[in-house]
């Protein structure tokens, strides 16, 4: 079963429009430095909301939330998403 | 309060009367008092010489509708008049459809007159094939306009008044006219207590080509709208500022005398929408409106105002 980070990785791959292969990125790699634009992070955010059935509050809609796959996982965990199997 | 509630409150207060078709309303004397007050108020600010002020007929030449580009750009909004132009031989067919509940309008023919699309469209034909001075001149015009947009929203009237300040002349002059009036119009409306924002806008061009034209208009920032809450809390346009570049000069063949094409710009106050925005802001009980607003509008002055 895919972990939380694996699922996030899949969403970023599908919606992040990134020029690199996300499956090769470390959990802590800076997504913006690897080509994630501000606008693409919006698509990622909306897709994450669909995948996990959560809603990001305004306070989490900032650059640092989507800085890395780890950062996204931490944000989702504060919204009640379990770090376990997905 | 949404647009349905606003409409209900207007009817309940007797300010507007249902015209029987979506978007058609009859005005009470009280409503007209507001409209004419706004008209006097902007006229004072405009200071246009009397010989440059016109009240246009609500009906215009159909050819002017074509030249103004309305048929090409907004065929879904126009209102062209038709009538029965046949004789005794053709009449029975019309009567038969009329009596049997058929479509009797198929027996009518389009006339050479149409309902007015925009107040300033009546101004340009007067200068067709002529030259105007590069120094520019400003006209103040009012017209009853028609847009085929039936809707239960009282802010979307099919028949409504437009009061415009129109510049004809040089490109620089036309642009400056629009800029001055964006500022002046905003100040005038804010002084009536309205919460005005100025947003970049575009015309509702029809069809696939329409999107390209609309985007060109947006990119060049040719049109701005002054918006305020009308039927609901979301703001709607109550005045607009348009720089036409050479569009009207080309369509109506108006030059600047030195071989160049005339440029024009207009600032239009939507009198009925402004009245509605004022009612929304200050309430349906006109007696309780702030005195500085009623004084500015001269609403105590009698005539079509309140007694």
């Amino acid at each position: 079963m895919p972990s939380l980070l694996d699922t996030i990785r899949g969403v970023v791959q599908a919606h992040g429009q990134m020029p690199v292969d996300v499956s090769g990125l470390a959990d802590s790699a800076d997504l913006y430095q690897n080509g994630l634009t501000s606008h693409a992070s919006v698509n990622v955010m909306l897709a994450l909301e669909d995948s996990f059935d959560v809603e990001f509050p305004d306070a989490l809609l900032k650059r640092s939330t989507f800085q890395s796959l780890e950062a996204i996982a931490q944000a989702l965990e504060t919204l009640g998403v379990s770090p376990g199997a997905h | 309060m949404d647009s349905q509630d606003f409409r209900t409150s207007l009817f309940a207060a007797g300010l507007l009367v249902d015209g029987g078709v979506d978007g058609l309303y009859h005005r009470s004397f009280a409503f007209e008092g507001i409209v004419r007050g706004v008209e006097r108020y902007v006229t004072r600010a405009g200071r246009v010489a009397d010989d440059h002020r016109f009240f246009f007929s609500p009906v215009m030449a159909r050819s002017a509708l074509v030249s103004a580009g309305y048929v090409r750009s907004f065929p879904d909004l126009i209102g062209v008049l038709s009538s029965f132009t046949g004789g005794d031989r053709e009449l029975p067919a019309l009567l038969e459809d009329l009596e049997s509940g058929g479509d009797w309008t198929t027996h009518l023919s389009a006339l050479d007159v149409a309902l007015c699309s925009a107040a300033c469209h009546n101004l340009y034909p007067r200068f067709s094939h002529h030259a105007v001075s590069r120094d520019g001149q400003v006209f103040e015009v009012q017209g009853v306009c028609f847009r085929h947009e039936p809707s239960p929203d009282p802010a979307r009237m099919q028949s409504f008044r437009m009061h415009e300040f129109v510049y004809l002349g040089s490109p620089e002059g036309a642009f400056a006219h629009r800029e001055e009036w964006i500022t002046r119009g905003g100040e005038l409306l804010r002084a009536l207590g309205l919460d005005i924002a100025v947003v970049v806008a575009n015309d509702p061009f029809f069809g696939r080509v329409g999107r390209m034209l609309a985007n060109g208009q947006l990119e060049k920032e040719l049109k701005f709208e002054l918006v305020a809450p009308i039927s609901s809390d979301t703001p709607g346009a109550i005045a607009s500022a348009n720089y036409h570049e050479d569009h009207m000069g080309l369509e109506f063949d108006i030059s600047l005398g030195d071989g160049e094409v005339m440029h024009s710009a207009c600032f239009g106050f939507g009198l009925d929408r402004i009245a509605l925005a004022l009612i929304r802001r200050h309430g349906t009980d006109l007696e309780s409106w702030p005195s500085d607003v009623t004084e500015r509008l001269g609403m105590d002055a009698g005539g079509f105002g309140r007694s």
């Binding site: 429009q17 919006v42 698509n43 909306l46 | 100025v198 947003v199 806008a201 509702p204 990119e219």
Partner: protein, 137 residues
Amino acid sequence: MDQSLLRHTGQHVTRVGVDVQDVADVRSARERHGARYDVRLFTEEELSRASAHPLTADRYFAGRFAGREAVLKLLALADAPAPWAEIAIRGDRPLGVELTGSAQAAAHRWGITVIRLSIHYGRSRATAVAVADAHDL
């Protein structure tokens, strides 16, 4: 020149932010996510302007997005950039920038009292530039 800036350190700098936004990306995001995209990113005033002018909504939103990004970059700090919702753009004449929360706090720390913004609503991409006077930090 604003005397309050001079009194602080005797120097001031001009801060700037710029952003370019492809309209095609806005269009495809709106097609995919529908109204959720619009509502999450833009103010009531921007939403009503877009619904009143649907033909140009994609380009308009691209411009407004670029405008906010330009302001974000102007205010950018190394550690905790502000949430999108703390920067609102009002109107077009003038293009007013309203800051709340940590964005407002950042502007205050920088000694920024007004941000000048210019947006170009281009057909294929929108461009925005934000400029402000700040203390030299």
